[in-house]
Amino acid sequence: MLKQIEGSKAVAEAIALCRPEVICAYPISPQTHIVEALGEMVKSEELAPCEFINVESEFAAMSVAIGSSAAGARSYTATASQGLLFMVEAVYNAAGLGLPIVMTVANRAIGAPINIWNDHSDSLSQRDSGWMQLFAETNQEAVDLHIQAFKLAEELSMPIMVCMDGFILTHAFERVDIPTQEQVDGYLPPFDPRQSLDPKEPISIGAMVGPEAFMEVKYLAHAKQMQALELIPQLAAEFKQQFGRDSGGLVRTYRADDAETMIVAMGSVLGTVKDTVDELREQGHKIGVLGIISYRPFPLQEVRAALVNCKRFVVLEKSLAVGMGGIVATDVRMAVSGTGLKGFTAIAGLGGRNITKASLHKLFLEAEQEKLEPVTFLDLDWDVVNKQLEREKQNRHSGPIAENILYDKGMSTSAAKFG
């Protein structure tokens, strides 16, 4: 059914349709609306049977999910940013134990400085945790990916993060097609755990494993994700059959056929990118787009196949490997290694910085002319940065950076005393 609906609410409804049995929640913007909506559904018994647990921290949220999943209940939680970091130990543990938990990450920057706006640094920090990560471009896709995620997670007995851009998606009101319960039930079978805590068959889960077997355990987790590379397109195809929509899969290209310049990105920014590309196409530029849906497992082959025929590509990413550059870009380069393709990294939108069509326009044209630095920081205020760098060079006690920048930008009057 088509609804004009807030992204968070849409996702909450999709989750509910998946019949989760245990939901643990701890509030953090911009995830709050999702769990609030679910909480209400459980309270009103619209979603039943389901245990909704208000935990005392994200660490507890993931821990409760670990317990409930290990005991055979379909388990869900959602978080973002600091919350995700607060639960990190348990995030790794859930993957290590092979528990098919589904978690929404309403992507948000990581502090300090504390910042509630969108970028991808939170979930990308969990790149190696063993969780799968699927990125939604739209709220419709967020809804659809959640439904697929439960099936994928339970099929492989591995946890999944469904990542959707904070505020940009979570708080956006859009038309979304919410499937019916019958449709979802027809697609997603009841949870049949690979193993569960049960007095009828007592097993010990979570052994201490030494050097003699640890590598094998880790390899097996890797092998699971390799299997997911096959399973994800399959589930997307099944999804299309059941719901009549293209959603999910590993990657998706746009106007890529004869593109000489390809723009690679994840999440909602793909919308702006496509609009810009449309405009450039109209102006005759041979430019196309590669959207990555499955960040983990990373579809090396599909990425390579999508890029191999272009001449250059730009990875536009909302994340920064400090001291190195791009995060996604590294993987993309790995995918095309040996092809001699020219690749650029563009770091953009950190902490919610607006990514405008105008800026992209400029960026893509420069890329086409191969005039870009290997790593470009989109719309960076060099003036401010240089001033601070200069200050630091002169004075060891140069004061708090964020405060100084605010001052330089004229947003604060109190902070300059360190200058």
Binding site: I53, S57, A60, A71, E89, L197, P202, M208
Partner: protein
């Protein structure tokens, strides 16, 4: 008296068993068919009080739940010595997740059982003092406050043993650990305010809180069984001497637990909804030295460079417990 001792001469209910008692009066541990929840072959040190306490407690919980029990375990000695790949000692469904999240994982298990309608299956969480009073404290408090249907058992050996005997918030003042060495002006662990987790548990108003020791099996079993008859958040804090960490003889494990109780240094009591309902009285009061001397972690208090003032201070703490909890019978107190 926290449990009804059998009025019976010879050994009454002091010993594990008693051939003269009726089958329904016997302890779980005396039964040939006790579940031995932790099987032989575990790798705990010789004379480990934690291995013993865990079998006592979990066997009792198994008996009370008709073997419908799931255990969640925090990281620590108990976990490490019971489940090194490829062998497990546990005979019941068991899960280890992390050091600081046992209470929360147990909440999750309980939630799953509830939603699946498996009301007959019960959940215990267990951890060491470090996993309980320090790193797992947040999850523990959350579980208490929500009154989740979990029995949490803390095996208190008064330090982080698994990592080589470092101090925890349950380490007693003056005790030597690898991080509180007996050097300087105030050797050993400091005299702080202490952290009394049973009392903090009581402050949550949860249905049941109890302390116990491996020296009083019948009391321990009674408390576990009682806790298992209840629902909601329950907490049992069991005193388990550690020969390795305390520098005590492996055969003194039970003796030291007994002395901890008899000196008053470890008060044994139970509380319901935040109020103490009974205490296990001291039978033959002993001076604190009797408890301290067999333990190398207190050796610096005696001998050449003795610290009698610190011993006095420890005695004062024990005496305060005796007063506060009424651990001595009136007549004995005056006698």
């Amino acid at each position: 008296m926290s449990f009804q001792p059998v009025k019976f001469y010879q050994t009454g209910t002091y010993t594990v068993g008693n051939r003269l008692l009726g089958p329904d009066e016997r302890s779980v541990q005396s039964g040939e068919l006790r579940s031995n929840s932790i099987n032989s072959g575990h790798r705990a040190c010789q004379g480990c009080g934690e291995a013993l306490g865990a079998r006592y407690a979990i066997d009792a919980a198994m008996a009370e739940s008709n073997n419908q029990l799931i255990a969640v375990n925090a990281t620590g000695c108990l976990e490490v010595f019971s489940t090194p790949y490829p062998e497990s000692s546990w005979q019941l469904p068991w899960i280890h997740s992390l050091f600081g999240n046992a209470a929360a994982v147990a909440t999750g298990v309980a939630a799953a059982l509830k939603v699946k309608g498996k009301t007959e299956v019960r959940v215990v969480a267990q951890g060491g003092d470090g996993g309980t009073t320090d790193i797992g404290f947040g999850c523990l408090s959350g579980m208490f406050e929500r009154n989740d249907d979990v029995l949490y058992i803390c095996y208190d050996n008064e330090a982080y043993m698994n990592t080589g005997v470092q101090r925890s918030s349950a380490t007693p003042p003056t005790a030597r650990t690898a991080t509180t060495m007996p050097v300087g002006k105030e050797p050993g662990n400091v005299f702080g305010q202490g952290k009394n987790v049973p009392e903090i548990a009581m402050a949550h108003g949860i249905p049941y809180v109890a302390t116990a020791t491996v020296a009083d099996l019948r009391d321990l079993e009674y408390k576990v069984r009682k806790a298992m008859k209840m629902h909601g958040a329950r907490y049992i804090h069991i005193f388990v001497p550690c020969p390795l960490g305390w520098g005590s003889a492996s055969h003194d494990t039970i003796k030291l637990a007994r002395l901890a109780k008899e000196t008053g240094t470890f008060p044994v009591f139970e509380a319901e909804h935040g109020e103490v309902t009974s205490v296990l009285k001291i039978r033959k009061k002993q001076p604190i030295e009797e408890y301290l001397k067999p333990q190398k972690r207190f050796a610096h208090l005696f001998g050449k460079h003795a610290h009698p003032e610190m011993v006095e201070h420890l005695q004062a703490i024990a005496d305060r417990n005796i007063r506060k909890y009424g651990l001595l019978d009136e007549e004995k107190a005056h006698g």
